[in-house]
């Protein structure tokens, strides 16, 4: 049996559902929905999917591109990578300095000479380029005369030829020789200790020492090893005629006096070196050296014993 109360309830509910069913107006609906739509973006700003996709693609492209560039950089010779010493590329503006710094034998000198691409370098004979090493030695000695302690310290250094530092000196300007007519400036008198340090060793040992010291001397003059004597010629104008400088000049792989080297010598030293060349039977080089001597010291009289070498 059905409960009378339930039956009454069902009848009442049925009667209620038969009542009119009013609903909100369209304006009320629009107001409520507009409010809901307006509140939604403020609470949770929705970002279009294409924006996220585009941003992701851009980030990936940038990352891949950067990684690719970083991977490629060590493989190629970038313009910023230092030019290797033996490289045949480059303008050659800095290679002469490197080549001169490494002029330890004729092969290297010839190689450096072959690399000289500029007209200025072509005007230089190879022997002039090789002469930079003795000049370097002299330069260091001269520096040692000004600072004996430093000179002794340099003398105690190993005589290795560090090529890497030489390469680091690539930016050094070229060793363009000065006009031969430029007379050397007077220098301070050399200290006796420096005179004793002057090597009378054969050229084979002198050149590495010169190169090594040239590199070490870069601490004083980063521009290189060749320009220092030109910038500060400091010729041994007051040296004695028989000081080892002449021997050093003469023993430099048989190279006679060059245009640049004698400019650091006093007239007496130069003439003495010319005499030694002549005495050794190398009249041609002696004559060349004498000609250069006259060009550098036009006012100096030519000794009678050397006049035979004049043209």
């Amino acid at each position: 049996m059905t409960d009378p109360d339930d039956l009454d309830e069902q009848r009442l509910l049925a009667a209620y559902r038969a009542l009119p069913r009013p609903e909100p107006s369209a304006a009320l609906d629009a107001a409520v929905l507009a409010h809901a739509r307006a509140a939604l973006p403020a609470a949770r700003p929705a970002r279009p999917r294409w924006v996220t996709g585009l941003a992701t693609a851009a980030v990936l492209t940038l990352a891949v591109g950067t990684g690719w560039q970083l991977r490629e950089a060590p493989l190629g010779d970038g313009p910023s990578s230092p030019a290797p010493i033996e490289s045949d590329q480059g303008s050659g503006s800095s290679e002469p300095a490197v080549a001169e710094a490494l002029t330890t034998d004729d092969d290297v000198a010839n190689k450096a000479e072959a690399k000289l691409g500029t007209a200025e370098a072509e005007e230089q004979p190879a022997d002039r380029m090789r002469d930079s090493a003795p000049r370097q030695i002299r330069e260091e000695r001269q520096a040692a005369t000004q600072d004996p302690a430093a000179g002794r310290a340099q003398a105690a250094r190993p005589l290795s030829v560090p090529e890497a530092p030489a390469a680091a000196a690539v930016p050094a300007p070229r060793s363009a020789p000065r006009p031969a007519a430029a007379p050397p400036a007077p220098a301070a008198p050399p200290a006796p200790a420096v005179m004793q340090e002057a090597p009378a060793a054969p050229a084979a040992s002198t050149l590495p020492k010169a190169s090594g010291r040239a590199v070490e001397g870069g601490a004083r003059d980063k521009r290189g090893t060749i320009d220092t004597p030109l910038a500060d010629p400091a010729p041994r104008a007051d040296r004695a005629p028989n000081e080892p400088e002449a021997d050093e000049l003469q023993s430099y792989e048989g190279q006679a006096a060059t245009q640049s080297a004698p400019r650091t010598l006093s007239p007496l030293e130069w003439l003495d070196a010319i005499r030694r060349m002549r005495d050794q039977g190398d009249a041609r080089r002696a004559a060349d050296a004498l000609a250069q001597f006259r060009a550098v010291y036009p006012d100096e009289p030519v000794p009678d014993d050397l006049k035979s070498l004049l043209p």
Partner: protein, 190 residues
């Protein structure tokens, strides 16, 4: 009401809770479906409780504004219709507290009901008169009893849900609903 019909078609399959969660997650269409499903029930509940068209529209809109504002606090365990009617109930209580006890005005309510045309012919006068008497009987009920009946008849809530929506105990809600039913029977069958 083409608009309401369109909205009603949208809200046919998904549950209220699913729509609510989707809307909280940013789906604007979910709210439209939810609104279409409950707009009529809420409006009638408010209209037959308040018996004032203007107050009904005001509280109807305010109820949805509260829903929008409090959507982040909604718990999926709660039934959406119960939560919605609870908000409406609280607004009505505040409204009643602000207003002096309004004198029953059945004519105003009946005028707002906008009865269908087919119910008004003279041939159906008896049926129309029965509905009018039911409406008058509803208006004569105490507010708590009428609200309990409306929650039962309009929203289909059970005793537990009526108690939850109105903020009273289960027995209180059951008692209110029982007294409402008895009073309506007396008024309809004098």
């Amino acid at each position: 009401m083409a608009n309401s019909r369109t909205l009603a078609l949208v809200s046919t399959e998904r549950s209220d809770e699913s729509l609510m969660q989707a809307w909280v997650g940013g789906d604007a269409a979910a709210f439209e479906a939810l609104y279409a499903r409950h707009r009529g029930m809420l409006f009638r509940y408010l209209l037959r409780s308040l018996k004032q068209q203007t107050a009904t529209e005001e509280l109807f809109q305010e109820t949805w504004v509260r829903v929008v504002a409090a959507r982040q606090r909604w718990q999926p365990q709660a039934r959406f219709s119960t939560w919605l009617l609870q908000i409406a109930h609280n607004l009505m209580v505040d409204h009643w507290r602000r207003q002096r006890p309004a004198e029953s005005d059945p004519e105003t309510v009946l005028a707002a009901l906008d009865a269908p045309e087919e119910d008004r012919p003279d041939a159906q006068w008896t049926q129309f008169e029965q509905r009018r008497r039911l409406q008058r009987a509803l208006e004569a009920l105490p507010d708590e009893q009428r609200e309990a009946f409306l929650l039962r008849a309009e929203a289909g809530l059970g005793i537990e849900e009526i108690a939850e929506a109105t903020g009273v105990g289960r027995e209180t809600a059951k008692s209110r609903l029982r007294y409402a039913m008895a009073r309506l029977r007396e008024l309809l069958n004098p």
